[in-house]
């Protein structure tokens, strides 16, 4: 007697969960199977069978290569990205806070942002040679613009009522910066950080394709030049996975940091 009302919603929930799972993995599975079947008998050198690529994968990306290529790449990416974030948020806060400074800097910043970041690789190679410094500087100088400009916009848009309130409560200095300005600008700052992340990965790969002795970009180009096509494909897969993983990590961090903001938006949407 008691079991029936329990079984109903329970089964419904299981069905819903299964359906959702089907939606999530359905198409990817279909695509992978499609790729597998379509390429299985492939004799085209450039499109090796997926079977071969997957078999090559563990041979290529073993401990040694992970340590020698993936790790340096990640270090450069994180170093450049972190530097860009610090510089971008700091400069952006200053520029956004003072109307005059903003007016003076705006045209120059717009121009610098409009320069496609990869053309900086040859320039920075002149200054910094072809070592790690060059790559970190390249990544930082490309990533800094979206962060900087978004911070400027965010700081500019700080609610004037809140700003006045903070002033009348005597909240100044670091406290004001932390709990008013940076906090209310943080959704914008995160939008900039997200844009910067994909630019950072692009620049990491390109700077390594240009001049390097290790790193993901370098290795993949080596494979391509040596006509090690399945190996090259595994490299493309690794870059894809890396991009995907970094974006997942970013989303997790963003959700944590901007939790209050999403809650606020959801609340204001419910009661317009």
């Amino acid at each position: 007697m008691k079991r029936e009302p329990l079984a109903g919603p329970g089964r419904g929930a299981v069905r819903r969960a299964l359906l959702r799972l089907l939606f999530v993995v359905g198409l990817p599975a279909l695509l992978v199977v499609g790729w597998w079947l379509a390429s299985d008998g492939s004799t085209n050198v450039y499109w090796p069978p997926l079977r071969t690529i997957l078999k090559t994968f563990p041979d290529v990306w073993t401990g040694e290569r992970l340590r020698a290529d993936l790790l340096p790449s990640m270090e450069r990416l994180l170093g450049g990205y972190a530097a860009a974030a610090v510089v971008g948020v700091a400069l952006g806060t200053v520029i956004g806070s003072y109307r005059k400074v903003r007016a003076v800097c705006e045209p120059v910043l717009e121009f610098l942002r409009a320069v496609p970041p990869p053309v900086l690789v040859p320039v920075i190679m002149l200054f910094a040679g072809i070592g790690d410094t060059m790559k970190i500087v390249v990544i930082a100088s490309g990533c800094v613009w979206p962060i900087l400009l978004n911070t400027v916009e965010g700081v500019r848009a700080v609610d004037s009522v809140m700003s006045e309130t903070a002033r009348s409560y005597g909240i100044t200095g670091v406290a004001r910066l932390r709990s008013l300005i940076l906090r209310s600008a943080s959704p914008q700052i995160f939008a900039g950080l997200r844009q910067a992340l994909s630019i950072g990965i692009i620049l990491m790969v390109i700077s390594e394709m240009f001049a390097a002795s290790n790193g993901l970009g370098f290795t993949i180009v080596q494979f391509q030049r040596g006509f090690a096509i399945p190996d090259m494909w595994t490299g493309i897969l690794v870059l894809g996975l890396l991009g995907f993983l970094l974006s997942v990590v970013f989303q997790l961090v963003e959700r944590r940091v901007l939790d209050w903001y999403h809650g606020l938006r959801a609340a204001s949407r419910r009661s317009p």
């Binding site: 959702r20 939606f23 999530v24 993995v25 359905g26 198409l27 990817p28 695509l31 450039y46 005059k100 007016a103 003076v104 800097c105 705006e106 045209p107 120059v108 717009e110 121009f111 610098l112 942002r113 409009a114 320069v115 496609p116 970041p117 990869p118 053309v119 900086l120 690789v121 040859p122 320039v123 190679m125 002149l126 200054f127 994909s198 990965i201 692009i202 790969v205 390109i206 394709m209 240009f210 970009g217 993949i220 180009v221 494979f223 391509q224 096509i229 090259m232 490299g235 493309i236 870059l239 894809g240 991009g243 995907f244 970094l246 974006s247």
Partner: protein, 257 residues
């Protein structure tokens, strides 16, 4: 106010250029690495007089425009279809989330193998990178459709096509325009990158050439050109956006009384 801001902006630009002239002249940075503004300007003049420069500019613009056009039409088409057909959105969400963050430069080796330095390898990279910008915006835009308006259209017996045309498209257009603006910038970056790394003809290849032949002022002049090009594309995209959405803002202005 606007005039004052423009004057301050011009002052900032002048200061930037003056700094570029002074720093190498004072020996703070080696002139071989960072030539003074005047030498870059002179190199730019020589470039502008060179026929090959204009051919390169034409190649770059062709790659950019063609890639953007393909990416925008494909993005809009796929975005609308995915959003309109029931359950297609849920079914494709995970795939899109997976494919989108894959850096387009990962395809460089493949593009080189398949098409060499042809225009097609540029297009492969440009289309892949810009497509997602448009697609995501279209999907957000369609999601924003007012359910009441949609239900009203349904109860008046509008068919799928008419609903797409009269309800969905006007709602999604602002989002689409943002997507196009983002895609235009991304397309330029990828066009120049492809030329720079693969060696497909265009401004990027010319920069690479200037770099290898140690023609430093020319290299800077070409980089300035790419920056101006990016600026023009940004301004142009914003103008198009404002034109296409003129009705939108005016309508919104009337409604929110």
């Amino acid at each position: 106010m606007r005039g004052a801001n423009a004057a301050l902006g011009a002052a900032g630009l002048a200061a930037f250029l003056a700094l570029g002239e002074a720093v190498p002249r004072l020996g703070l940075i080696k002139e071989d690495y960072f030539p003074p503004t005047s030498r870059i300007a002179k190199a730019l003049g020589t470039e502008l007089a060179d026929h090959a420069f204009w051919t390169a500019l034409g190649d770059t613009l062709t790659g950019w425009a063609l890639g953007l056009a393909i990416a925008v039409s494909a993005g809009i088409l796929v975005g609308v279809v995915i959003s309109v057909v029931p359950h297609l959105r849920e079914a494709t969400a995970s795939t899109i989330e997976f494919l989108r963050p894959i850096p387009s430069v990962a395809l460089i080796p493949l593009a080189v193998l398949l098409y060499g330095t042809e225009l097609r390898s540029v297009l492969l990279l440009v289309v892949y990178a810009s497509f997602w910008q448009v697609l995501i915006q279209v999907m957000y835009g369609v999601q924003d459709v007012d359910p009441v308006a949609d239900e009203t259209a349904r109860s008046y017996g509008l068919g799928t096509w008419a609903r797409v045309r009269h309800v969905l498209w006007p709602t999604a257009l602002p989002y689409v325009m943002t997507g196009v603006r983002l895609a235009a910038a991304v397309a330029l970056i990828l066009t120049i990158t492809a030329e720079l790394v693969i060696g497909a003809p265009g401004l990027g290849a010319r920069i690479a050439l200037a770099e290898t032949s140690q023609a430093v002022p020319e290299m800077y002049a070409l980089i300035v050109v790419t920056g101006l090009l990016g600026l023009l594309i940004n301004v142009g995209a914003r103008t198009v956006e404002r034109r296409a959405l003129a009705w939108h803002q005016s309508v919104r202005g009337e409604v929110t009384v």
